[in-house]
Assembly symmetry: C2
Homo-oligomer: 322 residues x 2
Amino acid sequence: MGELPKFVEFREMGPREGFQIEKRHYPLEDRVKIIDALSETGVKHIQMASFVSPKFVPSMADAEELFAGISLREGVHYEGIWFNRRGFDRAMATPGAYITGKMGLYTSNEFCLKNNNCTAEEQRQRQLEMLDLYDSCGLQVEQASILTAFGCNLSGEVPISKVMDCVLFIKETCLGQGRELPIIYLVDTVGWANPEDIKRRVGAVRELMPDVRIGLHLHDTRGLGGANFYAGLEMGVDLFDSSVAGLGGCPFAAFKDPNAAGNVCTEDMVFMCEELGIETGIDLEKMIEAARITESIMGRTLPGKIMHSGSLGTFRKVRKNS
Amino acid sequence: MGELPKFVEFREMGPREGFQIEKRHYPLEDRVKIIDALSETGVKHIQMASFVSPKFVPSMADAEELFAGISLREGVHYEGIWFNRRGFDRAMATPGAYITGKMGLYTSNEFCLKNNNCTAEEQRQRQLEMLDLYDSCGLQVEQASILTAFGCNLSGEVPISKVMDCVLFIKETCLGQGRELPIIYLVDTVGWANPEDIKRRVGAVRELMPDVRIGLHLHDTRGLGGANFYAGLEMGVDLFDSSVAGLGGCPFAAFKDPNAAGNVCTEDMVFMCEELGIETGIDLEKMIEAARITESIMGRTLPGKIMHSGSLGTFRKVRKNS
């Protein structure tokens, strides 16, 4: 294990992950308020919405209006995701949307069928078509995500070899064909990861692609999110997805319990980084404030911890003044 | 860093930590139900109550009745804690109460004054008197706890030297005077610990007392509980306090927010251990069931995660049968 990174980049998933699973409709202005609050925190990447069929994800029907409603802040990437050509075209037509080439691969056939209505192999073929499309638009591939990279509720254990098989496919189709590939994301879609497994899988990806930057997309489904995050830090990982207030979940995988945990919580993990002397570029107090706004809009207790207990800044300050 | 331990012992704090902060009165039979459910899980140590003045902690007024109400299970230690001679006498007079010699020291004067109504130095003198009392009763000292061992809301940062000073006092008064001392607990009373600090402080204690077993009493106040637990495992720590469903808190330190997190959650941490191949002697599914009973009795969403999402056992089983 190497040293902890000096700087960690957070990509905020809350607005997309949090609202995609909601049955209840939240007014556009409420979601705008959350995104605008996040824009003020210093976070540089906010995943806002999915450009998907409203038939499947009704809460994402107004993705374009959401982009039109927010106050775009310079230097912040506002991202909407897509799964196919139609979604990509919508994203391209949306002013303010941050667009880069992206790949998404599944280790689990069953999960891919549920999530994308195609087999994992068909998904690979679709990705090749998307790569051609990105090439034709002059877009570089910024990242490839390996979903269900730690285990899957539908297909069970995911051996490392399946993850490696995805990595090799990515390597061949990107680097092997003269494309750059800055980032590979390991996605713990349904909360199977444990800290030792984080280390093993990050290590295995690094062995195959020593120059790629590894990102971790973690869920706190079974309470191991923080430990998994720390294990990532111990492996030198410096890029994490997280959700303000711990919003999130997966519409196809999670239990229907509204109290089931979502992604690892942005402000709690920013706090961890600060305590470990790692810079994040994020103002913790402002992120806590964004979490409180989010909780008040969602109208129920959210999983984030430090938003309920307060950071240590005040206690340290009191002491210095006393 | 050494290897992860092969076996981790959990000491269940929920009934004491969880109810001491409650303003609302919960009927005796509800608390009995929780403790009896815990007794079924395989956990060998349950901290049930405090023998303290009902004036200060009204919810603990019926500690004796609680002991009388539960179904004592052979091999389980049912513990009630005390802070002074009067509390000790009550414990001694309570059938079924597990009694050993214990010391409690504070790094923070301010916190000790709030919690114990004496200075940290006076507390040391009281501990010496208690040691004499234990000697006269033929009780061995089983453990010494260092409270506010990572930081304090009232006195701010706690330098390692203050913890070391407590360790030296413990060493002198126990080993130096011919007493045994199996365990030193580092207590993160108000949730200041971070994973690197866990490693530093555990390492420092071990350097001074290589043969003592180290226990960690962790709170998840700011969302780092799981990461701190894992950092403890990485240091080879094999003894942890935790609370079913993540109950807990400190009446003198926590914000009054009822959603503030408590101790690290027993069933989530048992799950972590299982995933890491560490035995605990605890039946995870039974502990999840105890957590659900607890949540239903408390009448609000509790912080535990896996009780809301389910363990991985079913998903693995489904796969094997398919």
